[in-house]
Point group: C2
Chain length 452, copies 2
């Protein structure tokens, strides 16, 4: 984890565009750029200023550029940072990066700028992780959660808990120092109350992962039902409407992942629906273990029947469906073929009546999907855990604190008490990076994109 | 061509990345950004400064960003320009653009920033066109030519010619004003010398298009030869070597167009080689008009034979090949199978002996390709025309000037003389945009990418 050289990378997506931005960070960022920049002497310019000039490789003009100067520590990485905004040609970008590498810069590894920001105290670890989440965010909800985490909401909540624990840990350490004298600096009742309060918070945070994960990765949904009831027609109808919204602004259309739709800011992800479609009569054919497994992964099942199916058959399917744990939406397709009596019958069974082909009833379906996952009343000011690493650390913290509670009134085990509290502090510290290892850091930052 | 509103677009390539840059230009660029920016009051900041802050939609934090402030006319477009450097998530980019459009900005059309730079006198038209060429440049040569044009090399050369012509035009206009008096303000011998000198320059520029076009669009090459002599093996060998070079720096690999290779900065483009491969015995089967057409489009033919072919047959093919105009490289593949006598025989016929499969002789082949297209001795300080529109305008100028030469000593036709000189001035002006129409501008700038 050397931190004293100057790194360089393209920070904008590769490909042709109007401009590309090349970022340098490190002690020589300004000096190196200045060597190839013909314009003002960058070494003499104030921080947070922009300078037009040429990048020259000897006598050859590589490009006309604008350089942004961030004099450390007033930068993202807390080091000297220069951003070179050049014409968005890969040829030019490559030339400029090569040139500066020849002058002494080193190609940055993925996430290395953010790693430096962390190592230099600009961000804690959970904030750094939120930067990657923010870049990957593709819905209102995932964006809000990542933004809140990046802006330190989660970190602050943990910091409070940690500080109170640290206080008790030091009191108990004191007791150990005076072990002969049998004094009690740390009031056990207060400690117990604190640990219980912390455990409540931990429990809430751990529990929030269920929602946080869904927000970050989307709600896994399965569309099930017998063959030819219109499952893929429904999926296409949902996808088409969504695509029209996504591609509203030219140039910002994201690479749409098939079978993923965004309804009012919540992403619904249709897991392996092709497989499910093939074994669509899964509810009846109980043996189809693989498909059932898929259904268990789902947070929601859309169960679809055809208006022309026998009503008693349908009721049987519904009963089967009710026996498993995953919540489901019951949908009758081709509803235009239903008699009034049939309509009433199905409505009494909480069915949504739709026509996937004609896109009738899609608005009610979308509203029901949102209602079923019940994300609408999430308080986005409340911290949500979205990262499996954080959940694991929180659970470990909880384990240690449970040990604390077990030993709390046993004077013989003050040693254990101190150890368990320290352990809890360790795990809490892992989340924000107060406690860290090179392996952990490498594991986190290699998942970043280059240039961040 | 309204120019008084404020336009906005993503200026970096779409897709996920560390950062994205959104650009605004127009009278309200700073005011609009300031409305959604929580940080310093941007309206009170100096030009060429950088400001960290939040983009907020009401109370919702959309992103932490850095804004770059260019107070007009000290900007690319000569208007107020703000660049918002945000996290490279399409969701965030879309949110920020939507927000500013709601506040009153308008989505920019392709090339509209550069169009404004042109309309406001920041660039002339040929320089503006060079910006697009620069972004598209993918080789040393195309980059150099575009850079020279963008930096005004071509424009300056035309400007000189134009000014001299304007002088004569005004003298002849004067003569027309005093037509009754039969005076001669414009010395005809001097005019003739000038026009001839200009014609020489025009001729050189028009002629330079042959090279300029090749540099911009690549050298069209056809690999021909009988089936199974190893043509696709050769192409793959050439492509593989190139790809290794191109992908040297992670993240900057361009979207490689199949069958295009870059040798020492010159791009060789293999035109429809698949088709040629199918009708590979094109030299013998004279009737295959379509393939011959392809060969005529080529600037160079690589003609390949197998070492095991009958030597007399090969000589016959060579004779056929020599009868057409396109230069060719004669290659014997699987050369490891040749006897010493055969080797000497083929060398006497200027053959290159290679083994495509084992990549033997590729360096000599590449050197020969470069030698054949003879681009190595191009003086890159000499202006090269790369744009068909410019060539057309230059040819029209030349036509008008030839009319001038025809009428030059005929006192009766001073009117025509004045008209022809004006016509020549008009066509020269079309290149730099001194003379222009909305249609022409639209035609040029719609080919740009959005955000430039």
């Amino acid at each position: 984890m050397l931190n004293n050289d100057t790194i360089i990378a393209l920070s904008t997506p590769p490909g042709s565009g109007a401009i590309g931005v090349i970022r340098l960070s490190g002690p020589e960022a300004i000096t190196l750029t200045n060597q190839v920049f013909s314009g003002k002497n960058l070494k003499k310019q104030a921080t947070h200023t922009l300078h037009f000039g040429l990048i020259k490789d000897g006598d050859v003009v590589v490009d006309e550029v604008v350089t942004s100067l961030f004099v450390g520590p007033k930068s993202y990485t807390k080091e000297h940072v220069v951003e070179i905004s050049c014409h968005g040609s890969n040829y030019i970008i490559q030339q400029i990066i090569n040139l500066l590498i020849r002058k002494g810069a080193r190609a940055a590894k993925p996430g290395e700028f953010t790693l430096r920001a962390f190592l230099n105290g600009g961000l804690d670890l959970s904030q750094a992780e939120a930067v990657a989440d923010l870049i990957a965010s593709d819905s209102k909800a995932s964006h809000e959660v990542a933004m809140q985490q990046m802006r330190g909401g989660f970190s602050n909540e943990l910091k409070d808990l940690r500080e109170q624990l640290i206080h008790f840990a030091s009191m108990i350490e004191l007791e150990l120092d005076f072990a002969e004298e049998d004094v009690e600096f740390a009031n056990r009742d207060q400690l117990r109350t604190l640990v219980q309060r912390i455990n409540t918070v931990l429990q809430r945070l751990i529990h929030s992962f269920e929602v946080g994960n869904v927000i970050k990765n989307g709600v896994p949904v399965v569309i099930a039902g017998k063959p030819n009831v219109g499952k893929s027609t429904l999926l296409n109808a949902l996808l088409n409407e969504e695509r029209a919204i996504v591609s509203d602004i030219a140039g910002t259309t994201r690479d749409t992942i098939e079978d993923e739709i965004n309804i009012n800011g919540v992403v619904f992800r249709f897991i392996d629906t092709a497989g499910i479609r093939e074994t669509a009569d899964v509810i009846e054919a109980k043996g189809v273990e693989r498909s059932l497994e898929k259904m268990r992964q789902a947070r929601l099942i859309i169960y679809m029947v055809d208006a022309q199916e026998d009503e008693n058959e349908v009721i049987k399917q519904l009963e089967e469906l009710s026996r498993q744990d995953t919540p489901f939406l019951f949908i009758v397709n081709k509803a235009e073929l239903l008699s009034i009596a049939q309509q009433d019958f199905y409505k009494n069974h909480n069915a949504l009546l739709i026509s996937a082909k004609d896109k009738v009833g899609m608005d009610i379906l979308e509203a029901s999907l949102l209602e079923k996952v019940n994300l609408s009343n999430i308080n986005t000011n409340e911290t949500l855990v979205t990262n499996i690493r954080h959940v694991e650390a929180l659970k470990q913290t909880q384990n240690s604190l449970n040990n604390v509670l077990e030993n709390i009134y046993n004077p013989v085990t003050s040693d254990f008490l101190a150890m368990d509290i320290k352990q809890a502090l360790h795990y809490l510290g892992e989340i924000t990076g107060t406690v860290t290892t090179d392996d952990l850091l490498e594991n986190i930052f290699t998942k970043f994109c280059i240039g961040k």
